[in-house]
């Protein structure tokens, strides 16, 4: 086995393309391990975790391309090099002839098309300039990227509202506009509910529960994780609320958010109360998404279903704490809220003692990597560690389906889930998906279930199950 670590300074590719390139390499015969990523701190530490010589990458920064390959021999290494170049130079869109080069900026693509909304997912430090391009061209903007400076978000939202345009984001994972899912979005049938959400997975979980009750949506407008902070002042939430209020097909509005700043919460509640359309406000920390969905269904006169689940069959489970491995921040928060009521303190960082629920979609884990709903590398690494950690009894994790997400997350997760269940840990999966999702919700559930996990469509129900199993195996002590 030979290993090679190389740094190519100043060569940039987006994180998804790099993940796909890594995957191409890993699937080559004779390759034991491969990492193709930008040289962020996270990726450098991953390099060390994978047993590569980290010194060979010393000095690499986030603008430098990091290549690490462990191969059987020199021929395989050379094949890997060629495959990598091919994977990185493949263009998603053909160009040539009189069409000229692809547009390079948002301004250019707006000028050359009839686009009415821009979906931006470049690294956060570069978002502002492109978003201003979009607003100048009269486009609404959804900013999927995180790591956008707060003052830039404030400036963008001010510029947009002056122009009558909506900025969804930054850090807006999900929107559904006129039936088209942007970012991570589940396939939803048309229906009477309009959603305004400052939380991507909050919107997705709500969609997932409504879909199981056979209720559809008009639009789901994301606003970005910081919209309900004091400094941003809910600019986008209030705009979206007012637009949905005057949108005839929307019969009921739901506002869903992570815990907002108190003064902003009051303003949003005031605006919601003033709407002529019935409006449900769901702030995490006060209620759960499941409770929000229940209120929506009640207002619509639709009975709340028993949300689907796939039982593990229940074998003996080893004693130990609950470890939460989440890709959705709001799903983590909801689960933690429920668990804390039963088991006491639940930490949110990997170094916490005792129960600990970590959001791997947080900035800290996404610098220079794709979101864990796409790239499960970090979560798989932590899942393997949890499987081998005898102090952990229950592993609670979300799996988010829908457009934009990993095309087959279960196939990557099942070997590790099997390893965990074989070792006596319980694995509880919160599966966020709808019947129409391209991954096939029920097939994904069956695969996860087949590896020994219990699978729950409601995240709150999954959290309750994790607590139940913990209590049952630890004799009710915490």
């Amino acid at each position: 086995m030979i290993a090679r670590v190389e740094v190519q300074p100043g060569r940039y590719h987006d994180s998804v393309r790099l993940m796909q390139a890594s995957k191409v390499l890993q699937e080559l015969p004779g390759i034991a391990d491969a990492l193709v990523a930008m040289g962020t701190e996270l990726n450098l530490s991953l390099l060390a975790d994978m047993g590569f010589d980290a010194d060979a990458a010393a000095g690499a920064g986030p603008n430098d391309l990091l290549l690490a390959v462990r191969a059987e021999n020199d021929q395989v290494m050379e094949a890997a090099r060629l495959a990598l170049e091919a994977a990185l130079s493949a263009k998603p869109v053909a160009s040539g002839g009189l069409d000229g080069p692809e547009p390079r900026t948002v301004g250019s693509v707006a000028a050359r098309s009839d686009a009415n909304v821009a979906l931006l997912s470049m690294p956060g430090e570069h978002v502002f300039v492109e978003a201003m391009d979009a607003l100048d061209a009269g486009l609404h903007v959804m900013i999927f990227s995180d790591n956008v400076p707060l003052e830039q978000e404030i400036a963008l939202k001010a510029a947009a509202s002056n122009r009558g345009l909506l900025v969804m984001g930054p850090d807006c994972g999900t929107a559904i506009v006129g039936g088209v899912g942007l970012g991570f979005a589940n396939a939803m049938q048309p229906g009477p509910v309009g959603i305004v959400g400052a939380s991507g997975t909050g919107i997705q979980e709500l969609c997932c529960l409504l879909d199981d009750a056979d209720v559809g949506v008009t639009h789901a407008l994301g606003t970005g994780s910081r919209d309900l902070s004091e400094s941003v002042g809910a600019v986008s939430t209030l705009q979206a609320l007012s637009a949905l209020d005057t949108h005839p097909p929307t019969e009921l509005i739901v506002v869903i958010s992570k815990p907002p700043a108190a003064s902003v919460a009051a303003r949003v509640r005031g605006a919601a109360a003033a709407c002529s359309t019935p409006t449900v406000v769901t702030f995490m920390g006060e209620t759960t998404i499941e409770e929000g969905a229940a209120e929506v269904l009640m207002r619509l006169g639709v009975p709340e279903p028993a949300y689907r689940s796939w039982d593990s069959g229940g074998g003996p489970v080893r004693q130990g704490t609950i470890r939460g491995l989440f890709s959705g921040g709001t799903l983590r928060d909801e689960a933690r809220f429920i668990a804390m009521a039963e088991v006491g303190e639940v930490g949110t960082v990997e170094t916490a003692d005792g129960h600990c629920f970590v959001d791997y979609g947080d900035d800290e884990y996404t610098k220079g990597r794709a979101h864990p709903m796409i790239d499960q590398t970090v979560r798989l690494d932590r899942l393997a560690a949890a499987a081998d950690d005898a102090t952990i009894g229950v592993i609670l994790m979300d799996v988010v389906l829908g457009y934009g997400a990993n095309p087959d997350p279960a196939s990557e997760l099942t070997p590790m889930i099997q390893r965990a269940t074989d070792a006596g840990a319980a694995v509880v999966v919160s599966l966020c998906g709808t019947r129409g999702d391209p991954q096939g919700r029920d097939e994904q559930a069956a695969a996860l279930n087949g590896a020994g996990a219990s699978v729950w469509l409601s995240n709150a129900a999954a959290a309750r199950e994790a607590v139940r199993v913990f209590a049952a195996t630890n004799g009710g002590t915490t």
Binding site: N63, L98, V106, G107, H126, E130, G164, A240, Y403
Partner: protein
Amino acid sequence: MSDLDQLLDTEASVAAVGTEMLAAAIDQQGAAVHRADWQPPTPGTAAALARLAAGGSTAEANSTALTRMLAVRPQLTDVSTAIEVIPGMTERTFLHAGPPLEWERASGPTRGALIGALIYEGLAADPSEAEAIAAAGEIELSPCHHHSAVGPMAGVTSASMPVAVVEDAAGDGVAYSTLNEGLGKVLRYGAFAAEVIERLRWMQEVLGPVLGAALRSRGPIGLQSLIAQALQMGDDGHNRNRAVTSLFLREIGGALVDGADAPVTDRKAVFEFIDGNDHFMLNLVMAAGKLGSDAAAGVAASSLVTVMARNGTDFGVRLSGTGDAWFTAPAPPVDGLYLGAFTEDDASPDIGDSTITETVGLGGFAMAAAPAIVGFVGGTAAGAVRRTLAMYEITLGEHPAYQIPMLEFRGTPVGIDAALVVRTGIRPQINTGVAGKVPGTGMVGAGLVEAPMECFTEGITALAERLE
């Protein structure tokens, strides 16, 4: 109905820029998606770009600057003498192309042209005396661009030279340029042999006065429409000026016959000189460009490029919003084809004010209009179209008069935005001649060159600092 209501009532058409997977997810839903080949901006410019975008005034300033650039109506009104018309000109002033320069750093062609001009002006008897005078600092070197003037290649302009006077029919701007000497051993390429000096004297004594008289008798010649027609006849306005020169001869022909009080042999010689020089109109196209460039200058917060110019040592750029500042980088070598036995080892780095044509939407920016020159500068016709199309990515508008038949009469890309250059990494494309690096050699080839990125990154950084 607000824009936001409209979004809720119409189908989403998405400009998806960044991660390809998110664009593909929209494709997967069967919805309209438009992609861009986005790349991070040139390293070190992100903060300056954000400051420009946040200032809120740059877009409007750029629109103002571009409108001014496009509003000029250049017309050739007269041919006079440099010392009589060019502001700040003295008997010891020698204008040169590009950003400011000292003799010590001057390139071969610039030195050669200065030597020739010193001999031509009678200030030096021979090359060694000329070099000694220049080295002793006994002459004033100053960029053409500081004097409402432009000069191709070395661009050396001295007191006695005849100069074209190009005035703005829609404003009060005036621009000047020398008259073009033809190809081969000529002063602007740094040649200073006796035949070069002799031609310059004939231009001073015959060409200038005859053309001046003809123009005064017939009245001004509008240059914009001549250039616009020429683009539809295969010119690019920089490296190919055959059509526009022919059109000019048709315009001036009658007045050469009866408008100038000169011997018929002189009038015939003038006709034949212009007829024999496919580049005669280059200098006038440049002066027309200089009018637009000067009109666009001085708009606070504008990142529009008003000047790109080189002197064989440095490549210099000026922006509308950064006053008199030059942003310079070493002049790059030209990727070209060479005449006869010359090779790239004989070539001077990029030189001349003729890049004023690219600054106003001609030359490399209009290359799609000039398939005939692509072989000359080493390319293909399809490549020429692609090069022009790429320039739309870094320009603020399309020229209302200069159109490209091949592109369905689309206006040429015009108004280079330095911010777009650093954002896209696409550098302005220039068609150019190549001068020999040894003083006295003359022209050695022609080719393509791209403006150095440093000029634009420095310019954007300086502009952002001004906004603070």
